[in-house]
């Protein structure tokens, strides 16, 4: 009888202890599958601590290119005794549990419906490596070798990944290869392989790259000409700063002088970080910061200043689980209201919602143009899942013809030739955006006094009601201008001509939503979909919402905050917007979206298809 294999469709989870070097081993494994031409989605599930606590690494392998998280684990590599019970339980029926059998498995861990594959990892490591430290490190490579063999991964690909990894430390390659072989050989000698979930070389990744969103944001900032990065460490945004520094060091050192064309400043806190950004953009540079929820909360006062004094700011908000310190190493989309309306008084802020690293790159770059053009704060709304995990992504693109849009800035010449009085907050051409000048531009013209207090068109302090009204009404008009400049939504194949059902999502729910669309299709549920890319909502978003009768809004927070934004900004009747939520800190799955939708449709099945 021929064995039936499930090919290129599985979830593998590694259960490790953090600080043991497993992350890099797991990464190399995932990268190898990707190199085999198979789409993957790796996710790190790590604790808010440095060493000694359970950490998981999950890779979904899916030939069709579904990149959302999927529940149900096919193979679990369990090398952390602390989480053994939980790990064993998490394997789906018929799945595999790979463990270190240097010591026998206690019987409480035995489930009848799964397969156990024991490998004497630590024993093999002890037999082959001298020190405890090395044993711990190479144990990880041993299980990679074993796993690869079990699922029939291409060993040569893995070896090439290892070789690349240690390109600059060649002497590390042989011991790594040796560890890999130890794992491979142990399987070959003791087990029937491959098992019935396996991988096969494919050609399904195109020109995709594997990158995390934070790195892509940082590169976007570099390409957009950000010269000042001011930040304060906070998970999960720290790596934006780290990547900016790493790439700036490579790409932004003046060849001749060795001097830096960037300033990378670790601030004393988030208040100072955004203050530096405001100062720098006021001074005419492009500058940005990256933070997460607690940081944005601390930045609230300054955010109001940037809105009211009309100072460009780019802020990468990598959301994590809130409220308060919350779940620092889990992902949510729960900072929408607090971002959109941050700070006291009547304020509104432009948000961009990337949903993959290529968009992180592009939207960050775009954020600088928008900030300069609109003279206001632009937040790129990312999250831990997008920011810190590697994603299969289209490559990043840059058109060399592309010019930075520095917005309305008077140059020295323009000032020199100007006869009328310069008005910093004067709307001279009807788009509600005034002209600005950089300090030091002209000896006698164009200087002005920036302030967070109420001011007239000439930046002069005023407490007069009518002056105040002119100013804030213009800011409201500027908001309308913004609607014409921010990226429009992506509309997906229209399945439903009657436009009865709609599906709305943004950011990292996209992966799962796109997959859910297919799942619903399979169930003959026709639904039109829209991925929103920005706030304020553009005309297209408004049209979609008004044209559909019943719209499911997918988001990852308890209070359906995105839905609130839709209701509030588009004057939508709330009754037509149905919540589809997931807010436990893990990325939503297609299955969840589908079942919530079907659950809510059930009472009215007649209306469908």
């Amino acid at each position: 009888m021929e064995r039936k294999f499930v090919v290129n469709d599985m979830v593998i989870r590694f259960a490790n202890v953090n600080g043991t070097g497993s992350a890099s081993a797991n990464d190399m494994f995932a990268k190898s599958i990707f190199r085999m031409g198979i789409p993957i989605t790796p996710k790190n599930i790590f604790p808010s601590n440095i060493q000694g606590l359970p950490t998981w690494y999950e890779v979904r392998i899916n030939g069709k290119g579904y990149l959302g998280r999927k529940a149900g684990i096919d193979i679990l590599v369990g090398v952390n005794p602390q989480s053994f019970m939980r790990d064993v339980k998490s394997v789906k029926s018929g799945g595999y549990f790979i463990y270190d059998n240097s010591k026998p498995l206690h019987k409480e861990y035995i489930r009848e419906d799964i397969n156990y594959i024991g490998i004497p990892m630590i024993k093999l490591a002890m037999d082959n490596y001298p020190s405890a430290r090395l044993q711990q490190l190479f144990k990880n490579i041993i299980y990679v070798g074993a796993l690869a063999t079990l699922i029939d991964a291409d060993i040569d690909v893995i070896k090439s990944v290892i070789s690349e990894q240690f390109e600059k430390k060649q002497k590390l390659i042989p011991p790594n290869f040796q560890a890999l072989e130890l794992g491979i050989n142990y399987i070959k000698e003791h087990y029937d392989y491959p098992i019935d979930v396996k991988v096969e070389k494919a050609n399904n990744v195109g020109d995709s790259i594997l990158i995390d969103g934070n790195t892509a944001c940082a590169l976007g900032a570099i390409y957009a000409g950000a010269t000042v990065m001011a930040w304060y460490p906070i998970t999960p945004s720290t790596s934006v700063a780290k990547a900016y520094e790493t790439y700036a060091k490579k790409l932004r050192i003046d060849k001749e002088t060795g001097k830096k064309k960037y300033a990378f400043v670790q601030a004393e806190d988030e208040l100072a970080a955004i203050g530096m950004v405001i100062g720098a953009t006021w001074g005419g540079a492009r500058a940005f910061t990256a933070t997460s929820g607690p940081g944005v909360s601390l930045m609230n006062e300054f955010i109001g200043l940037s809105y009211f004094a009309e100072i460009p700011v780019v802020l990468i908000n990598v959301q994590r689980g809130g409220p308060s310190t919350g779940m620092p190493t889990r992902s949510q989309q729960a900072d929408l209201i607090s971002s959109a309306y941050a700070s006291h008084g009547d304020t509104k802020h432009v948000l961009l919602f990337p949903s993959n690293p290529a968009e992180c790159f592009e939207m960050t770059a775009q954020a600088f143009d928008l900030a300069d053009r609109l003279q206001t704060l632009i937040m790129v709304i990312s999250d831990l899942d997008l920011g810190m995990n590697n994603h299969l992504s289209p490559p990043m693109k840059w058109d060399d013809e592309r010019k930075y849009d520095r917005g309305k800035v008077f140059t020295e010449e323009q000032l020199e030739n100007m006869t009328e009085k310069f008005g910093r907050y004067l709307d001279v051409d009807g788009d509600a955006i005034p002209y600005r000048t950089y300090p030091g531009t002209h000896p006698t013209k164009g200087s002005f006094f920036t302030r967070g207090t109420s001011h007239d068109e000439y930046a002069k302090y005023s407490e007069l009601g009518e002056v105040y009204l002119r100013n804030v009404d213009r800011l409201a008009d500027k908001w309308d201008t913004a609607k014409t400049m921010v990226p429009p939504p992506e509309l997906y194949d229209v399945n439903d001509d009657k436009k009865s059902l709609g599906l709305v999502f943004f950011g990292t729910t996209t992966y799962a939503a796109v997959e859910a669309m297919d799942l619903l299709q399979e169930q003959n549920i026709a639904i039109n979909s829209m991925r929103v890319k920005s706030f304020p909502f553009t005309k297209e978003v408004e049209t979609f919402i008004s044209e559909h009768d019943k719209i499911f809004v997918v988001e990852q927070n308890r209070d359906a905050q995105f839905r609130t934004l839709l209701i509030n900004e588009l004057e939508t009747n709330p009754s037509k917007l149905i919540k589809v939520l997931n807010y436990d800190g893990t990325p939503i799955t297609a299955q969840t979206i589908m079942s919530q939708i079907i659950g809510m449709l059930e009472p009215v099945p007649a209306e469908l298809n």
Binding site: R35, D207, S208, I209, L210, I211, L219, I222, A224, G225, T227, V228, Y247, R252, D254, G258, K259, K260, K261, Y262, A263, V265, A267, E268, D269, L271, A272, A273, G275, M276, V277, I278, G279, A280, W282, G283, G284, A285, A287, E301, F302, M396, K397, W398, D399, D400, R402, K403, Y404, Y438, P439, G440, H442, P443, T444, S447, F448, F449, T450, G452
Partner: protein, 350 residues
């Protein structure tokens, strides 16, 4: 209204080296209380900038919030100004300085703005040796919010509400020295002969220059019965429990020689003892500066003068090794690595 002169009054008509007259360094009419020490400091800034022949647009003036922080409107109208939010001037200045290293950055702050809400940013601007002049207009109280004690108020001083301050005052100059500031000076708002040269020195210093300037608040440090006729007014204020009467005062002035001491009577009739460092004082010896400062304090003296200067000061730009061209003058050609480089990066991620 202030005694600071508006543009059209008594302009000093002598042009300086860059062709500006003194009036070109003035600002709009002050709205501070008549006699406020802050206005005298504004005057000293105007004087100093005029004397060093600075083109006004080569300076950016920044501040936080408070009476003191309003002063940048009252000097240097041709300079860009930034009246930011309370206590955060240092971070704004840091950013501005990063954007363009070629301007002079003059930050103005109050003792509330600096020593309370702004303490963190103050400390860290010093730590980064940011190239700026940082003037604290130090009146020991919160002027703009009506006279609460600030963190620099002396132990035992009596506030307008009649309470004796139970806390020790923070000595900003001492603090700056401890934190390794590269330039630390202290002066008195009424002592132009000391203040003007000190501002000039601070502007030429390549690093963080603190000027802690004692600057009496006529309105809220005006709480002792000092003159006969005043007592009536004071009684009125007590009775109506409204701080709605501010007597017009002349700004306090003082002029004394280096090495000397001078007793100055404040608006409230209390006295402070200023002591000026000797002319042969060596300001590069930090150890002695710290000791002299503590010594003076224990003698009830306020030591003024240039307390310390580090002649080897390296500012933040030097530490970061940034390019000579200002960032705000750079464009795509300077900054964008281009599509080829990006394709290489993409390649490395496959």
């Amino acid at each position: 209204m202030s005694y600071l002169k508006p543009l059209f009054h008594h302009p000093s008509l002598k042009e300086n080296k860059v062709g500006y007259v003194k009036a070109d360094y003035e600002g709009v009419i002050s709205t501070l209380c008549a006699g406020c020490g802050h206005d005298s400091i504004s005057g000293a800034i105007v004087q100093a900038c005029y004397e060093v022949s600075l083109e006004p647009h080569r300076l950016a003036k920044l501040s936080g919030i408070g009476c003191s922080s309003k002063t940048p409107t009252y000097f240097l109208s041709n300079s860009h100004g930034f009246n930011s939010v309370h206590g955060r001037m240092p971070s704004i200045t840091t950013g501005a300085n990063m954007a363009n290293k070629h301007l002079i950055y003059l930050g103005v702050s109050g003792d509330g703005d600096t020593a309370s809400i702004g303490m963190g940013q103050f400390v860290h601007a010093i730590r980064r040796n940011l190239n700026m002049v940082y003037i604290v207009m130090n009146n020991g109280c919160y002027g703009l919010t009506k006279g609460q004690d600030s963190a620099t108020a002396d132990f035992g001083s009596i506030s307008k509400t009649g309470e004796s301050n139970p806390y020790n005052g923070i000595d900003l100059a001492g603090l700056a020295l401890e934190l390794g500031a590269s330039f630390v000076g202290r002066s008195f708002s009424g002592d132009k002969s000391q203040l003007v040269p000190m501002i000039k020195a601070a502007m030429s210093h390549p690093g963080f220059a603190l000027l802690d300037v004692i600057s009496p608040c006529v309105t809220f440090n005006n709480n002792k019965e000092s003159t006969k006729s005043y007592s009536h007014v004071r009684a009125h204020i007590e009775s109506t429990s409204e701080f709605d009467f501010v007597p017009e005062e002349k700004a306090i002035e003082v002029d004394y020689a280096a090495g000397d001491s001078a007793e100055v009577e404040l608006f409230d009739g209390s006295k402070i003892l200023l002591s000026k460092l000797a002319p042969d004082w060596n300001p590069t010896d930090k150890f002695t500066a710290v000791n002299r400062l503590h010594e003076a304090k224990s003698n009830g003296q306020i030591l003024t003068g240039l307390l310390y200067i580090n002649p080897e000061s390296k500012d933040l730009h030097s530490m970061l090794n940034t390019s000579d061209k200002a960032f705000n003058a750079m464009d795509e050609t300077d900054l964008c690595p281009g599509s080829m480089e990006l394709e290489k990066i993409n390649q490395g991620l496959r």
